[in-house]
Symmetry: C2
Subunit: 367 residues, 2 copies
């Protein structure tokens, strides 16, 4: 069950110069913290993820988004490790975000929510670790936007992590990444039901716009090969083309399904803020143009994982991270996994990833 921790301090200052109060963090834990507090694993979720990494998600009623990796006897073994996963700052599953109540106006923040960064998200997770009285986690792990958080941990709180596993991620958002996010935001904002972010007041929601945003993003999460293998040009429940705008092709039907289901569980404004946080992420410019400088104080072991079929966060971006770590003499291992599943491979059945994470974690635990 999700727990909530609430901070009413005014000291939670954001990168933008603004602050949030109160700050609530919704999180789940799995397994037990050992006496020495050396078995904590912090999972950072991706853009549309949440704290339900392996528990049944109360909204979708489906297994957690990383159920394949986290659980009893699984690579991130709940019998062995104490696993923490919190909803990110700006999210919509309990942690303070744009749909939370703004105590000043007594209505949901909407666009009055401050624009946040990946660093801000991580800063809130530090508060959570303090609350749980865990000085140092065994590892911090995450894919995509989760991987960005892992990199921010490595850069900003190196003393709080023994190791780190950034997966399918990058040290900065590329021009193409930003472009796709911008299209998604424009789709949301083009929906008149968005009402400049005040859709709650109108008891409505920009579902069509958010659905289009999700559909676009979803294409980028899969490889061309994965789409071709999964759907090809197969028709959906029909023998012939209908010569209409129905979802003749399976891939159309699938995308529409993805869009429709997403809007049931996600807040449109959260989507705007979280995509913006990813766009703003840039460990290079934040370190005077030298990525390696982000890791000046890092003494943790790092395991970088990428996938060959990922065109959104291509392997080359992971290699840049590895090179930067190498130049600082950080203990880093790197695996570029042969896969045609696209960016979403980190959420799927990838035995090489499972084996790598299991082995790396075990080695860190006994170290």
């Amino acid at each position: 069950m999700t727990k909530l921790v609430k901070y009413t301090t005014n000291d939670f200052n954001l990168a933008s110069g603004k602050s949030i109060s109160p700050l609530e963090i919704a999180y789940e834990t799995y397994g037990k913290l050992n006496k020495d507090k050396t078995n904590a694993v912090l999972i950072c979720h991706a853009l549309t993820g949440d704290q339900y990494a392996c528990a049944i998600n109360p909204i979708t009623k489906k297994p957690g988004w990383w159920d394949i990796l986290v659980g009893k006897g699984k690579p991130i073994d709940t019998d062995k490790y104490f696993i923490i996963c919190s909803n990110v700052l700006g999210g919509c599953m309990g942690t303070t975000g744009p749909k939370s109540q703004n105590l000043i106006t007594n209505e949901p923040y909407g666009l009055n929510f401050p624009v946040i960064t990946i660093s801000d998200m991580v800063k809130s997770q530090v508060l959570l670790l303090d609350h749980l009285e865990i000085p140092k986690v065994l590892t911090v792990i995450g894919g995509s936007m989760g991987g960005m958080q892992v990199l921010a941990w490595m850069s900003e709180y190196p003393d709080r992590i023994k190791s780190a596993i950034p997966i399918a991620t990058a040290a900065y958002h590329t021009s193409q990444n930003i472009a796709f996010h911008e299209v998604g935001r424009q789709a949301v904002m083009a929906d008149p039901k968005w009402h400049e972010g005040k859709y709650f007041e109108y008891n409505t929601s920009p579902e069509k716009g958010l659905s289009v945003a999700r559909m676009t993003a979803h294409i980028t999460y899969l490889s061309e090969v994965a789409l071709q293998n999964k759907f090809g040009r197969n028709l959906q429940d029909r023998a012939k083309k209908t010569f209409s705008f129905d979802a003749d092709f399976q891939v159309e039907s699938y995308l529409r399904y993805q869009g429709v289901n997403f809007v049931k569980r996600f807040d449109a404004n959260s989507y705007l803020f979280l995509t913006r946080a990813m766009d703003y992420f840039d460990l290079i410019s934040e370190n005077d143009g030298v990525l390696a400088n982000a890791f000046n104080d890092l003494n943790a072991s790092v395991c970088v994982i990428s996938f060959t079929g990922d065109w959104l966060f291509p392997s080359i971006e992971s290699k840049k991270i590895v090179h930067a770590l190498n130049s600082k003499g950080v203990d880093v291992s790197f695996i570029d996994i042969e896969s045609n599943k696209g960016h979403d491979a980190f959420l799927m059945d990838e035995p090489a990833m499972f084996k790598t994470i299991r082995g790396f974690l075990e080695a860190q635990y006994v170290k």
Copy 2:
């Protein structure tokens, strides 16, 4: 100046089984037809192109979309060849399309326009050649959707072409191609100003939806490298991030500009019908699963051109066409041009493409 040819026959039957009457074809010609009628070049335009290949476009007031290639002394030399370019069936620049008057209802067709195919487009071009009394063109050339039309010419009217130049195209639309088009259509249809395609009745237009569709498509026309080189993470007219949803990044500003300008010149329903026609294109399934069978009767010379940086219509798709042509003993040459410009390379300054087209055309002309 655009000329119009009007057919009132009821015999213009479409692949869907429906027919259109009257059928008007808007076209431009450049240069002079020689006495033997052996110097005609038919240009087929892409999804958002029009008949203004090299003349000033009356809507945008800009040079034609292929002005770089077509003109006096250029590879497709207006001093030498008689060039024909017609607006495609279903388009919005004069040829009959969804914004044309439906004589039965006395209002624009809108969604009552029949769903058309690439073959239907080509069929209308055959009528135009008949009207111009040209039995056989020297070449038929086009990129992207224009290339699909070229392939359809090669397959269905082999006796009307001496040669063909399909560029940056494919014999079928892939699952990913269909997916991106479907997202664009959903963006248009999600706009309440679309009014189920009857926006003319409301004196409005789904500009926001169409703009989002264009933005998404535009990303797919450029390579990741091109975006990174052109914009990177550069900020737009500002020194710092604004921590807002303004177009902080140049790439955002550029995309918004693309969207806004596109809606000034393009009809939203046309966008739906033309993307659908591309999705339906599949020379493989139409030939019992064997692409080569599409070219059973082809006796023309073919020059296939692709670009290494094109991820929307990747080189591998052109190679499949070449292999199919080879298997039928067709005289085919193939050039895969090293380029990082993405799919839109065929519209840009690509010296290798210019040289290839000039040489191929000259060889065909003297043959």
